[in-house]
């Protein structure tokens, strides 16, 4: 930020700015989704785009995720760079085929004749009492699939930088945003600065010596809060936000674990076959000597409950993260 003026903005405004900037920069960028048009979006995330870029490039779709994501793929194959909104991450169940069997594979299976430059963003995760069908975090599914890239920005800066980079990337990129963070604020470079965050690069959110705590998506904030709690007790935790789930920056994570000798991963997704599993497995395979057994901090293996008390117990929080790390350091 090399001295440029910074601004404090909301998470959803960073998305809005990224869309504005990229649509202004490149007229091949179009936006499709339910209520992205004149209404400005259910979280006001697309406000102003319709007025600025018009009905051809900013298009309300009917409720047809399979069809409009497939359409985005077809458009991406033929000269456009579509951005697609799917309101809630849980609804990605409705467009798995165009994502996994089309977007991810077309370049490979058509012999490199096409690329599929598109970005799909969606709001996921828990913490707002939205219940079992509106709270999921499904990044692991997509990180399992070659041909896709997956990002999970947890700060306004990373929303801005990753959405912009994702739109410019020539591959299908899924941007898994956090509902809970929509109204959160953070520093970004001032308007006019072309802020990019590279895909596949982790962010060391806090440096530390005693343990590496990898925090996925919106777990970044409770992880940092846990690190503060732990620091008060003399435990110095390094917090890494991978930012991209695929490609995953294992170089950064492994280097940290080599330094600290301890690894915990916190995520709001379920444990089995998850990114936490991937990170723990990759460290084990790398043969890095650990001073404590690695830990995954995840919800129990149950759907996301609606009741606030239950959801609080469901999601990892700073206290639970801190106590896990205390145990690890004590072990």
């Amino acid at each position: 930020m090399r001295g440029r003026p910074m601004a404090r903005v909301k998470y959803y405004r960073a998305l809005n700015r990224a869309l504005h900037e990229e649509m202004a920069r490149d007229d091949r960028v179009i936006l499709l989704g339910e209520d992205v048009g004149a209404s400005g979006g259910i979280f006001a995330q697309t406000r102003g785009l319709y007025e600025t870029f018009g009905p051809a490039r900013v298009r309300d779709t009917p409720i047809a995720e399979n069809g409009f994501v497939s359409a985005a793929v077809g458009a991406a194959m033929t000269g456009l760079r579509p951005v697609v909104e799917v309101g809630f991450e849980d609804f990605l169940t409705c467009c798995m085929d165009p994502l996994v069997n089309q977007a991810a594979k077309l370049r490979y299976m058509l012999g490199g004749q096409v690329s599929v430059p598109m970005l799909l963003y969606t709001f996921g995760g828990g913490g707002v009492n939205a219940g079992p069908q509106h709270s999921q975090s499904l990044a692991a599914w997509f990180a399992h699939v070659p041909g896709l890239k997956v990002v999970m920005p947890a700060t306004p800066r990373d929303v801005l930088g990753l959405v912009k980079s994702g739109i410019r990337d020539d591959n299908p990129v899924l941007c898994l945003l956090s509902k809970k963070l929509i109204g959160s604020t953070g520093e970004v470079t001032g308007e006019g600065d072309d802020t990019l965050v590279p895909l596949g690069a982790a962010d060391i959110a806090r440096q530390g010596r005693d343990a590496t705590l990898v925090a996925l998506g919106q777990m970044r904030a409770p992880a940092l809060a846990a690190a503060d709690l732990l620091a008060a007790g003399g435990i110095d935790v390094e917090v890494i936000d991978p930012r991209s789930a695929s490609p995953l920056d294992m170089v950064c994570i492994a280097a940290s674990v080599r330094r600290t000798g301890r690894l915990a991963v916190v995520q709001e997704a379920h444990a089995p076959c998850s990114l936490a599993a991937e990170i723990v497995a990759a460290i084990a395979e790398a043969g890095i000597a650990l001073r404590a057994t690695p830990r995954r901090i995840t919800p129990p293996f149950a759907p996301s409950p609606f009741a606030p008390q239950l959801e609080r117990a469901f999601l990892p929080d700073a206290e639970r993260i801190a106590s896990t790390l205390r145990d690890m350091v004590a072990a």
């Binding site: 339910e34 209520d35 048009g37 004149a38 209404s39 400005g40 979006g41 259910i42 309300d60 009917p62 409720i63 047809a64 399979n66 069809g67 849980d90 609804f91 169940t93 409705c94 707002v128 009492n129 939205a130 219940g131 079992p132 069908q133 509106h134 129990p300 293996f301 149950a302 759907p303 409950p305 609606f306 009741a307 606030p308 008390q309 239950l310 117990a313 469901f314």
Partner: protein, 329 residues
Amino acid sequence: MAASSSVAPERALALYRTMCEIRAFEQAAVKGYRDGHLPGFIHVSLGQEACAAGACGALVEGDLITSTHRGHGHCLAKGADPGRMLAELYARADGYAKGRGGSMHIADVAAGVLGANGIVGQSMGLGIGAALSLQVRGQPNCVVAFFGEGASGTGIAHEAMNMAALWNLGIVFFCESNRYAELSPYDTHVSVPDVAGRAAAYGFTGVVVDGEDVMAVHAAVAEAAARARAGGGPSLIEAKTYRWHGHYEGDPQTYKPEAERRNDEGLDPIARFARGAAALGLDPARLEGAREEAEARIAAALAWAGSLQSPPAAALTEDVYAGQAHGAG
């Protein structure tokens, strides 16, 4: 409508009472939400009471419904208990979903309510499954699958209607065409003037009905349901109605024209019924009595729900699998 005048006054009064219950229930829910007592988000069907009351009022014991994210009215009209529904909205242990589901997942399977659902369109797939089950098990009942004009654009709407026709299932696809899907109007979603017309694409009957007129809705569903129960296969009913409130409570509704937001048309199925009640053999006193009963029932439900406990911690991991130690089944 000829059919409606053949309904006994008691029947008509019951439909009115149901509408009043839905109205009172949702007004209470809206107030609870505004006052910060209800967590999460809710979608209310204020203004659409004639649809739920008319449709479910035409059903009999053993008939089943599948509902949507906007399902309070459907559930109430089919016989779900308002206390347990409010308990669910308030995230209490005695809620229908033990506080785990919330507004979008209210079900009372014993009453034939297979559940509200948060995924647009799935009410139709689940609905044909229930109808298939009735058919295979030789049950002389039918299913009503509620959906919206927005849902009519989903692939599963088509898949379900095609299969219902192919398999001659006893189902009524009931489209509550309430002018909006989320923040966008009908013609963002549907390329033709009437969803009902699409029934022809499957070879079954499709009718448009005035969704502000509970007697008309009732008559149309009674006919379709009777046909469905008798092995006459599926049909589609589109009830034209109007969603008074926003998509979710708190929605600023900036996308609605001012006159519509003010309801300049004066749409109100309850007032509409009252205006025509004399012709049905009902005097104002009986209406007033029914309304008071309805409101008292909801008030009692609300008081009860407010007094309940939050779910115990164990509820978090119960019922994930049937056959679990703590599972209910």
